[in-house]
Amino acid sequence: MKKIILALLVVTAFAFTSSRGDGDKIPSSTVKKLDGTKVNTSTFSNNGKPIIISFWATWCKPCKKELDAIQENYADWTKETGVKLIAISIDDARSAGKVVTDVKSKGWDYEVYIDENSDFKRAMNVNNVPHTFLVDGTGKIVWSHNSYTEGDEDALYENVKKLAKGEALAH
C-alpha cells in the first residue's frame, strides 16, 4: 500500500496547478507519415479550425465503419466547419504495411499517420480503438469518445459544429 501512495504522490506532486485532462494540449510524440517522414504530434494544427483525431487499426471493424461513415459526408463537414480529421493507425509491424493500401482503396481523404509502437496512443491514454478526440481551434483537447456504434458520427458532427461556433460541448 505504501508503494501505491508514494507513487500517486510522485505524480500528483507535480499536478498542483493542473485542471482535468480536458482542455490540455496534444502531447508530444513521434508518428510517421505514410511516406515515412517523422512528425511530432504537438505540431498538429488546422489554422484555428477544429481537428478530429481518430485512433484506428486495419484489423478493427468498428474503426473502419466509423471512418467510412465520416468519409461519406467529409467534404460537407470540411466545407461547413473547416474541420480536419487526423487518423492515427496503431497497427504494428504485422499490419503497418496495410495502412496505406486500406486508406487508398477506401478512398479516405484524411491526414493519416502510423503510430507503430503506440507511443502516441500511450501518451493520449488510449487503450481500445476506436477512440476519437476533438481538438478546438486553440489546440486544446476538449472532448473524447471510446467505441463506435451507428450514428456516432452524427453526434460527433453536432459537437464539431458547436466547436466551430464556439459553444460548449455535450458528452
Binding site: 507513487a7 505524480v11 499536478a15 500511450r122 501518451a123 487503450n127 471510446n146 451507428e150
Partner: protein
C-alpha cells in the same frame, strides 16, 4: 515445476526491487523538476494530467459439459490504471496493476498488485531521455521491440534508460539499456541496443525537393548478457543480434525490407529433447521481412513475405511462452475479427517458418451496374505459412544440435487462409458485409507446439453475413450469421459450427446484444451445445461499462500474431473503462 521453483524468488525480489527503484525515480523526478523550474520557459508551460482505468471482473460457474473448471475464488478480476503527467518538455507516468486473482486464461504468475511501470522523460529538439520502463521498437521489431498489450497481459518493457537524438536533420539515433519486465519483477539478463535511421531525402533537404523517390535506411544492434550457470555446457554469456532495413517510396509504390541475424543462443525455447536427453541448439538465427505495396485511389495491392529461422530472442535463456521476448516476429497472415474466421488463428513460429500474404482491394465505383448508388468494396486475400526444411548435421560427440536450411526448400504446410470480403451499402439505411474463407491449420504445431501431437489438420470453409439496418437517425440493428464447416468425425477439433448474433443500439450510448454459437457438428452427440451469451453496455464519452452473462467456448485470442488460449467459462462478467 517451473512455478514452484521460481515463485519464492519472485516475491522476494518484488518488494526490494520496486521500493528501491521507486525511490530512485522519485529523486530523479525531483532533480529534473528543479532543473525545469530554472529554465523559465518550461516552468511557464501548462501542466496536464491524463489517466486511464480498466477493471474486468468475472464470476465463474462450473460447467462440466462445456469444460468450464471450478474456480475456487468464484470471482476473479484484472485491473489497471495509468496516470501520465506532462509539463512542457517533461513527462512522467505510473501504472498500477492488480490481479485478485488473475482471470482465467492468463499466466497465474500475475498474482497480487503493485506498480509495474513508472517513467520520467525529458525531450527537446536535440535530445530525448527516458528513465524507467521504456517502450521502443527498432525497425519492424525483428531484433528489438518492447510493448504493452493489456488484452494479452503482455508487457516486456525495458526497465532502464533510453536516449534518442537527432544530431542532424533526417538522422535519428537511439540507444537503450536495461532489464525487461516479467510479471512483478525484471528478468535476469541485461539488454543493450543501438539503432540508427537515416531519411536520405530529409538529410539532403532542399536538394531533394524535386526528388520523387524517398529512401529511408536503418540498422540496429542488440546484445543481451546473462551469466552462464550451466554446470555441463558452455553457454554464450553475450548474444548479439543485428539487422539492416530499407524503405523506398515513390508515388503509390512502397517497398520495405529488413534482414536480421542472431548469434548462437542455446535456450529453452530452441532446444529439443530426444529420448529423454536435452539437446541444445548452438545454431545461428536469421529473419527476413519484405513488404511491398501499390495503392491509388480505389485500388491497392499488398505483397508480404517472411522467413524466420531460430529467432526466439529472450533476455533469459530459461524463459518460454511469451516471457522476456526481446524481439517481435509479426505473423504475415490476416488477423480476423469475426468469430468463425478467427476460430483457429495463426501464431508466429519463432523456431522456423516461411510465409507470405497477397492482398488486393478495390472499390467498384458508384453508379456502375455492380456498384449501385453507393459503390462496393472488394478484398481478396491469400496467405500461407510453412515449416522450414532443416537438414540435421548433428554433432554426435556432444549434446548439441545443428542443422542447415535452404532458402529454396520449404517444409510442410502450417496454415493457409484464402478469403474474399465484400462490403456494400444498399440504401441510405441498409448495408452489409459478406465473406467467404477457406482455411487450413496444422493444429499440433500452430496451437500446441507438439509436432507429433494427437490433433488432425483442420480444413474449414467459412461464411459470414453481417447486415446493419439504421433507423431514426441514431438507432441501428445489426445481425450476423456465420457458418464453419469442418470434418465432423474429428473428435478433438469439435467439428462444424453456426453462429447467430443480434445487436441493438437504440441510441449512441446503449448497446444490447445476444449471441448463439451452436456446435451442431460435434462428433459427440451430447456435446452439440448452444453457447448463448448476452451482453449490454453503456458508453458516455470516454467512459464505458459493459455487462455480460452466459457461456463462452474455449478459444484463442490473438493480437499481432501473439495469442493466448481462453478456457471455456460460464458466468457473469463486468468491464469498466474510463479515461480522463
Amino acid at each position: 515445476m517451473f512455478l514452484t521453483q521460481k515463485l519464492p524468488y519472485f516475491t522476494l525480489m518484488q518488494n526490494k526491487y520496486f521500493k528501491s527503484s521507486l525511490t530512485a525515480t522519485f529523486l530523479l523526478i525531483l532533480i529534473l523538476n528543479a532543473f525545469n523550474i530554472k529554465a523559465q520557459s518550461i516552468a511557464d508551460e501548462a501542466n496536464s494530467v491524463h489517466g486511464y482505468f480498466q477493471i474486468d471482473a468475472q464470476y465463474y460457474k462450473q460447467d462440466t459439459l462445456i469444460g468450464a473448471p471450478i474456480v475456487p475464488e468464484k470471482m476473479l478480476s484484472n485491473a489497471f490504471g495509468n496516470i501520465n503527467y506532462t509539463k512542457g518538455k517533461f513527462s512522467a507516468g505510473v501504472r498500477y496493476e492488480a490481479y485478485n486473482n488473475v482471470m482465467q486464461g492468463f499466466d497465474p504468475r500475475y498474482k497480487g498488485q503493485g506498480i509495474t511501470n513508472r517513467f520520467a522523460r525529458y525531450q527537446d529538439q536535440l535530445l530525448d531521455i527516458t528513465i524507467g520502463n521504456i517502450y521502443e521498437q527498432f525497425g519492424s521489431g525483428l531484433i528489438f521491440r518492447t510493448y504493452y498489450e493489456p488484452g494479452l497481459l503482455f508487457d516486456n518493457s525495458l526497465d532502464g534508460i533510453r536516449v534518442i537524438s537527432n544530431p542532424v536533420r533526417g538522422l535519428t539515433l537511439k540507444g537503450v539499456v536495461g532489464k525487461q519486465r516479467t510479471f512483478f519483477t525484471v528478468g535476469p539478463g541485461i539488454v543493450r541496443g543501438f539503432d540508427g535511421e537515416l531519411n536520405i531525402n530529409e538529410a539532403l533537404d532542399s536538394m531533394a525537393a524535386n526528388i520523387k523517390t524517398k529512401v529511408i535506411i536503418g540498422g540496429s544492434f542488440v546484445s543481451k548478457n546473462q551469466p552462464d550457470q550451466n554446470p555441463d555446457f558452455v553457454m554464450p554469456e553475450n548474444v548479439g543480434a543485428y539487422s539492416g532495413r530499407m524503405n523506398i517510396i515513390r508515388g503509390g509504390f512502397n517497398f520495405f525490407a529488413e534482414y536480421a541475424q542472431k548469434e548462437n543462443d542455446p535456450a529453452a525455447a530452441n532446444n529439443t529433447t530426444v529420448g529423454g536427453k536435452n539437446y541444445f541448439s548452438y545454431q545461428q538465427g536469421d529473419a527476413m521481412f519484405l513488404s511491398t505495396s501499390y495503392a491509388t485511389k480505389g485500388f491497392s495491392f499488398l505483397l508480404q513475405a517472411k522467413r524466420i529461422d531460430n529467432m526466439s530472442f529472450r533476455s533469459d535463456r530459461d524463459a518460454t511462452l511469451q516471457n522476456l521476448l526481446i524481439n517481435f516476429l509479426p505473423a504475415t497472415t490476416r488477423q480476423h475479427t469475426y468469430l468463425m474466421p478467427a476460430f483457429s488463428p495463426y501464431a508466429t513460429q519463432p523456431t522456423g517458418e516461411v510465409g507470405g500474404m497477397a492482398e488486393m482491394q478495390f472499390k467498384v465505383p458508384k453508379g456502375s451496374a455492380l456498384g449501385g448508388k453507393y459503390g462496393m468494396d472488394i478484398t481478396l486475400n491469400a496467405s500461407q505459412a510453412n515449416l522450414l526444411k532443416p537438414i540435421n548435421i548433428d554433432d554426435s560427440t556432444t549434446t548439441s544440435k545443428l542443422y542447415r536450411t535452404n532458402y529454396e526448400e520449404v517444409g510442410n504446410e502450417l496454415y493457409h487462409d484464402f478469403f474474399i470480403e465484400i462490403t456494400k451499402k444498399f440504401t441510405k439505411k441498409f448495408k452489409g458485409t459478406f465473406m467467404f474463407a477457406n482455411q487450413f491449420n496444422n493444429i499440433n504445431i500452430v496451437q500446441h507446439n507438439t509436432p507429433k501431437g494427437p490433433y488432425k489438420n483442420v480444413l474449414a470453409n467459412i461464411e459470414v453475413i453481417d447486415l446493419t439496418y439504421k433507423y431514426k437517425g441514431n438507432s441501428a440493428i445489426r445481425m450476423e450469421l456465420q457458418g464453419m464447416q469442418r470434418d465432423n468425425k474429428d473428435t478433438l477439433n469439435l467439428g462444424s459450427w453456426v453462429v447467430g448474433l443480434i445487436e441493438w443500439t437504440p441510441n449512441t450510448h446503449i448497446f444490447v446484444a445476444a449471441i448463439d454459437q451452436y456446435n451442431y457438428g460435434n462428433p459427440v452427440e451430447n456435446l452439440r451445445l448452444h453457447y448463448v451469451y448476452f451482453s449490454a453496455g453503456y458508453t458516455s464519452g470516454p467512459h464505458r461499462i459493459s455487462l455480460s452473462y452466459g457461456k463462452q467456448r474455449a478459444g484463442i485470442f490473438c493480437v499481432g500474431g501473439v495469442c493466448r488460449t481462453v478456457p471455456a467459462s460460464n458466468g457473469f462478467a463486468i468491464s469498466i473503462t474510463s479515461s480522463f
